[in-house]
Amino acid sequence: MNGTVLRALFIDAYQQVLDNWVFRILAVLVFGTVAFSFAVGASPDFISILWLRYPYAELGFEANMLPGEARRELLQGLQSLFIDNVVGTFGLLGCLAATSFFVPQMLERGAADTLFSKPVSRIALLTARYAAGLLFVGLLAVALVGGLFLGLKARWGLEGTDLLWSAPVLVYRYAIVYSATVLIGVLTRSSVAALLGSFLFLGFNGCVHGAWEVREFTVNARSQMEASARPVEPQPEPDPVEEAQAAAEAADTEPESPPDEGLSLVRGLWKAVTVAHFVLPKPGEAPRIVELLTDGDPDAADAQKRAEFDAKNAERVAKGFRPRSPPKPPPGDFRLRWGGPWPRNAYVSIATSLGFALAVFLAAAWRLSRIRF
């Protein structure tokens, strides 16, 4: 495929996006939000609306109400709640609704004949439609996040570029879900089926991951409760010979547990949920990925907090006070981490999600290559 063809496909995708009325509505909403961020600002001493300044003292608040750290936390909260969760969920649904017909429309009788008779491979044409969807979301995400970044920098004194991570993560989130829309579109060649199928898939996907999260939370919380209830006693070093003998005796005497059909069904179900959790894409983990990208390594942050705690404890002991027991992690703190164990590893989450998207897209391309128009 040469540059001319690529350029043609890009122009086509761009025109298709610009002509979409949902895109225009979302663009107006984005513009309004960005304009608001330029209109309203806050500094350590006052709130500003357009060119008017209202010192906190005049509004009945204490002066220096929003120092740098508080403003930073407020903006982080805004990023997490508004961009990563509200826009990442409802915006994603809107974008899916608006772009679900891209592929089926290309495959309609008449349209497909004209397009697929051109000397361009079918997979290239499908990729172009997929890219049109990404362009749709990419333009909106860049406009929203970039605009907010500039507005907050100008009016709130935002420091750093953490906010900008939200834009690629929004596109990533959409990209992994849209691959399923593309597959449904190719299989059914119906815009309505692609739209409904995408929402059903999102719902099913959410249920699977939700069920897995609940189970993980329950198992974690129970093991933590059991660990805290058990008295900790110093254990003598086990003798390897005695240990082996005890294990052999236990194996001889342990009665086989009777098969429980109900229990095995539940276990089988959980296994299926676990497998599905790792196979299916995880768009819901995108906000956490943004947190990881912006906060750095939470393990390192925890280690630093622990070191600070230990130092304070040492001071207490030096002053003759009893040492405080270290804070326990909350039950269910099994959030995604860069260096976490593999079910909770952010790299694994991203790799499995992208792997799913790629596999689904290739399945769509294979099916398309077999269609007789």
């Binding site: 001319t4 497909a112 008779s117 000397p119």
Partner: protein, 312 residues
């Protein structure tokens, strides 16, 4: 040196469905089209015309036999760069303007944007779309879309053009413009593959015709050969006579009759019997002239004869 045929198919079989319910859309079609011809593909609905075109354009795969386009096996991208296609009931992207449509499809065929921008105004003029060049396709009438479809098939100046019902939905003035475009292509030496139900149009534009029915070629030849009308004669008599058609019905196929003439399709024996019959009636024969058939008559005779024969 022998030229590479524009289209060459050999024992082409295309099946839809599997097992006992499978339908043979093409059943052993063999055909060669020399470059520079305007080629008419005729047949009733479901004859396999569109399937044949789609095989040649790589839109339908999984066929048996051999199919080549411009000397290369179909399905390859390279020959398709030199091919233009106007499908029946086509749909162009509604979000583009006419200008953008021509740019898009021209670029997909490998033409540079600057090259196209020089030629697009000319094509818009030829199909009468200059005024609406910058309006979105979704605002066009069916006829306008058809004319734009023709321009998109030709904008990259292909060597072979497949036109499936090119005048469908076009008004008489537009039809004349389409005919003029096809005549121009013929003058330039472009091979045109015309698929139409309007047999008069085919007769006006094509120099070679194939009649297809039930996936098989019924007859192939030049337009002259097709319409020469073996055995078609007009017999003129000296005075008015009643029921000439009834009198000669047993001698052959009467296609038209009047008080002083009868048009008959008959073999030599039938013609002799007709002459004897008229003389026996006391009618003097003024003239017997060989008559040229219309393509429509040939088509109806051939297809009608097959439809009346063995079931599919």
């Amino acid at each position: 040196m022998k030229q590479t045929p524009a289209v060459s198919v050999q024992d082409l079989v295309v099946r839809y469905g599997k097992g006992k319910t499978a339908v043979r859309a093409l059943d052993g079609v063999s055909l060669t089209i020399e470059p520079g011809r305007v080629f008419g593909l005729l047949g009733p609905n479901g004859a396999g015309k569109t399937t044949l075109v789609k095989v040649l354009l790589g839109l339908v795969g999984g066929f048996e036999g051999r199919a080549e386009l411009l000397g290369e096996p179909v399905g390859r991208a390279l020959p398709r760069r030199r091919v233009g296609y106007l499908p029946e009931a086509h749909r162009l992207p509604g979000y583009l303007t006419a200008w953008q449509v021509l740019e898009l499809f021209g670029m997909l065929c490998g033409r540079e944007r600057a090259w196209l921008q020089q030629r697009i105004p000319g094509w818009l003029d030829r199909v009468g779309m200059r005024e609406a060049a910058h309006r979105k396709v979704k605002q066009y009438s069916k006829g306008m879309q058809q004319r734009l479809g023709l321009a998109q098939a030709l904008v990259h100046e292909p060597d072979v053009v497949f036109l499936d019902e090119p005048t469908d939905g076009v008004d008489p003035i537009g039809r004349a413009a389409v005919r003029e475009v096809i005549a121009e292509l013929k003058r330039k030496g472009t091979t045109v593959f015309l698929n139409s139900h309007l047999l008069m149009e085919v007769e006006q534009m094509c120099d070679h015709v194939v009649i297809l029915n039930r996936g098989r070629i019924l007859r192939e030849g030049s337009l002259e050969e097709m319409t020469r009308g073996a055995g078609a004669v007009r017999i003129e008599i000296g005075r008015d006579a009643a029921d000439l058609a009834g009198k000669l019905a047993k001698c052959g196929q009467v296609t038209d009759s009047g008080p002083r003439h009868v048009d008959l399709i008959a073999d030599e024996q039938g013609l002799g019997a007709a002459i004897d019959k008229l003389r026996a009636e006391g009618l003097s024969i003024r003239a017997i002239t060989p008559r040229k058939l219309t393509l429509e008559q040939v088509f109806i005779d051939l297809v009608g004869a097959q439809e009346g024969s063995a079931p599919r």
